[in-house]
């Protein structure tokens, strides 16, 4: 169950990054509310997962799903630039974050 909570937490983080993009495009209250609810749900499920799973592991997987998913959403939904250098750089950042969380 903890793993399901963790995946849910990552997915909520990912869609919240999408809501942040939606807020920039539409500038409406609904996007803002979705953004707040999304991040709150993400932290809630992360805290549930962390009761069972080791903190470094849970945080690493949460960040990986959320930040990588957010970057992919940005490219797919918002047509953000996707040259090879940018994708390499984002991969390097997220990979380093996951590694640091796992060994800390």
């Amino acid at each position: 169950m903890a793993w399901i909570y963790l995946i849910l937490a990552g997915l909520f983080e990912m869609v919240s990054v999408g809501f942040m993009g939606r807020l920039q495009q539409r500038k409406d209250i609904l996007s803002f509310v979705l953004l707040i609810v999304g991040f709150s749900a993400s932290f809630f499920f992360l805290s549930l997962a962390m009761k069972v799973l080791p903190m470094g592991l849970a945080y690493a997987i949460w960040t990986g799903i959320g930040a990588a998913g957010g970057a992919i959403l940005g490219i797919v939904l918002f047509k953000e630039p996707k040259n090879a250098l940018r994708i390499t750089a984002i991969t390097l950042i997220i990979g380093s974050v996951i590694a640091l969380k796992l060994i800390s």
Partner: protein, 112 residues
């Protein structure tokens, strides 16, 4: 460039609230932690108007982790390990590479 500095500032506040969540004990410290959460996400939303939102978030998470790992070592006596230093360098290299490869006016908001 200005907006990249804002993301750095958002990450500084993120480090503040991560430390707060772990160490806050008094009501005043908890109040500061909540303020830091609001400020860091506020800046983040503002910056994503000009820079791509996926990029802003990746850099925010990256720099936040960088700051948290450094402050754990400097302030809270967490061991300094060669592997940590290596991944700190690859992380910063990724952030700098991303900054150089992202046009300044490629934001999610604006006239699209």
């Amino acid at each position: 460039m200005k907006y990249w500095l804002l993301v750095v500032l958002a990450a500084v506040f993120e480090v503040g609230w991560v430390i707060g969540l772990k160490h806050a004990a008094t009501p005043l410290e908890w109040f500061g932690t909540v303020i830091a959460i609001i400020v860091s996400f506020g800046i983040l939303i503002y910056a994503s108007g000009v820079l791509p939102v996926g990029t802003v978030y990746a850099v925010f998470v990256g720099l936040g982790t960088f700051g948290t790992v450094i402050s754990d070592m400097v302030l809270f006596g967490s061991p300094v390990e060669p592997l940590k230093i290596l991944f700190i360098f690859t992380l910063l290299a990724g952030v700098i590479m991303l900054k150089l490869a992202t046009p300044d006016d490629s934001g999610t908001g604006g006239e699209q």
